[in-house]
């Protein structure tokens, strides 16, 4: 609706590296859901977009989410749809997974597992880092 790209908005041909850093569990607070909305909008701007999952943010990607009991929408299928928006650079912090007893095969998307050091380097190379 009104959340699409507005007339007059433009990127002037500039392509920047945007990284969205997801730090929170998917439910309990709205950060993950509204964060994902920004990611989807950013796809319309032809930027170099990547997503990083750290801390409890790794839970956003866990397979088999069941939200009926809390009457919240299970929005995890949307992460699978990111590919269709040409958002294919997904990174997860190895240490965050390990600390929570999770492994790559528990996650619902193809993702690159990086150490916190590697992720820090990648973050440092970004133009814009937005964390939710």
């Amino acid at each position: 609706m009104s959340d699409s790209v507005q007339p007059g908005e433009e990127s002037s041909g500039v392509i920047k590296k945007f990284m969205f850093v997801n730090r929170k569990a998917p439910y309990g607070t709205i950060y993950a859901l509204e964060g994902l909305e920004v990611v989807l909008i950013s796809a319309a701007f032809d930027q170099d977009v990547s997503l990083a999952f750290v801390d409890d943010g790794v839970y956003q990607l866990v397979k088999g989410q069941q939200t009926k009991g809390i009457e919240a929408k299970n929005f995890s299928p949307a992460y699978r749809a990111l590919e269709g928006y040409d958002i294919e650079k997904l990174y997860v912090e190895r240490e965050a997974l390990e600390r929570r007893g999770l492994a790559e095969e528990d996650l619902l998307v193809d993702i690159q597992v990086l150490s916190s050091g590697e992720l820090a380097e990648l973050m440092a190379s970004q133009d814009v880092v937005i964390s939710f």
Binding site: D3, S4, E10, E37, V38, I41
Partner: protein, 119 residues
């Protein structure tokens, strides 16, 4: 330098809005440009005109409005986040406007730095 500012928390409950305001004011005082301040998540609650804190407290909403009036700072409230929380045009304090999330992405593209204030 040209800054974009993102405010992700509501007023009073959380210090993020205070920090964002103090940063924005300091940047302007130093001669920097503020391309836009974007209010997201509960940050949209910074824009409501019926906010009335006790008189001995800072008025967070009016403080933003004053910054807009004096320095022409563009204060943008996310439409999706605002509607979710019952905030529409007629509730906005002076200087605020409602627009889409694209305005946040644009601030990232056009600014030299995007500074995020949140939890």
């Amino acid at each position: 330098m040209k800054f974009g500012i993102l405010v992700n928390e509501g007023p009073y409950t959380h210090e993020a809005s205070d920090s964002a305001y103090l940063f924005t004011r300091a940047a302007l005082e130093k001669g920097h440009e503020i391309y836009r301040v974007f209010f997201y998540h509960d940050g949209v609650n910074n824009a409501t005109k019926y906010t009335e804190p006790p008189q001995d407290d800072r008025h967070i909403v009016n403080r933003w409005s004053k910054l807009a009036a004096e320095h022409g700072v563009d204060l943008v409230v996310c439409v999706a986040a605002a509607l979710r929380r019952g905030i529409k045009d007629d509730l906005l304090a002076p200087g605020f406007r409602i627009s889409g999330l694209g305005q946040l992405v644009e601030a990232g593209i056009q600014g030299d730095r995007l500074v995020v204030f949140g939890d």
